[in-house]
């Protein structure tokens, strides 16, 4: 049996409730009442079409982060001993921070680009946003003593990383642009 509400909930995870209702409404209108298989096939195709890009982009971003980390390993050898202040290779640290900042900035941009559906202020979104913010802010706090001993440039790079890392999560608190709900 066809369950339009379930399909709507699944699609809503990707594009928001309002647009998901429109998509399912279009499917119901174009497929008629009896075509259960065709309905679910279409839902599956829509879900795949809407989700493969962010998944691939996120995987690529994470893998690129891993390779960037490997590349910067030699320049910034004491990555595991970041508190060895005398041994810190400042150039390597800067490269690492900037690379990570770019990576997180790209992830944030991708998340924003592919989630342009209306976003209601829900509790779940607030929790995700808070956790993400604390994760990034925690990094800044945990490394405060290291930053204290570094120069202005390095503090700036670290702060930029912090801002870019938190940016995707800050979007969890705001309302994205919604589809106009009244007729023209």
């Amino acid at each position: 049996m066809r369950n339009a509400v379930s399909a709507e909930r699944i699609i809503a995870c990707l594009i928001g409730r309002a647009k998901a209702a429109v998509v399912v409404g279009d499917l119901l209108e174009s497929l008629g009442e009896q075509e259960t298989f065709a309905f679910w096939l279409s839902v599956t195709r829509i879900v795949l079409s809407l989700s493969w890009r962010p998944i691939v982009a996120f995987t690529a971003a994470v893998l690129s982060g891993y390779f960037l980390q490997r590349l910067s390993w030699h320049a910034y050898h004491p990555i595991g001993g970041i508190r060895l202040q005398g041994d810190v290779n400042r150039l390597g640290l800067t490269i690492l921070l900037v690379a990570l900042a770019l990576q997180w900035g790209c992830i944030g941009r991708l998340i924003d680009t592919h989630n342009i559906a209306p976003r209601e202020r829900t509790s779940r979104r607030r929790v995700v946003g808070s956790l993400g913010f604390l994760l990034a802010f925690g990094w800044l706090i945990a490394n405060y003593d290291l930053l204290y001993h570094l120069g202005f440039l390095y503090r700036g790079a670290a702060f930029t990383w912090f801002l870019l890392m938190t940016r995707p999560f800050l979007s969890s608190f705001r309302d994205a642009r919604a589809v106009a709900s009244s007729g023209k």
Binding site: A4, V22, V23, G25, S30, I46, S49, L50, I116, G183
Partner: protein, 110 residues
């Protein structure tokens, strides 16, 4: 106005919306594309393209009233903005310029 490059599918969708005038929403846009081009676009690709074009300011959308035929769900109507019209006209001009002087089978571009 800044020139916005368009992909082939974006042009097709824009032209379908223009042809449908006030009645352009997911189902009719898809049907119009199928009738005019013989291609049946995947629904997901169509919605992704429409969202992207709305982000670019090429189209605008609004929700209509819910209908029983759609299980009480609203239609999302689309209209091409001035920016979209300029973009599609510019893209078509480029095609026309490239076709000029060519003798293609079934074409009238000599």
């Amino acid at each position: 106005m800044r020139h916005v490059p368009l992909g082939e599918f974006e042009q097709i969708v824009l032209l379908a919306i223009l042809r449908l005038r006030e009645n352009a929403y997911g189902v009719t846009i898809r049907r119009e594309i199928t009738v005019c081009t013989g291609r049946q676009p995947a629904p997901g690709a169509l919605y992704t393209t429409l969202d992207r074009m709305e982000e670019k300011g090429l189209v605008e959308s609004w929700l209509g009233d819910p209908t029983p035929q759609r299980g009480g769900r609203a239609k999302r109507y689309f209209i091409v903005t001035n920016k979209g019209r300029v973009a599609v006209a510019s893209a078509q001009r480029s095609y026309q310029n490239l076709l000029r002087g060519l003798h293609l089978p079934g074409g009238a571009h000599a």
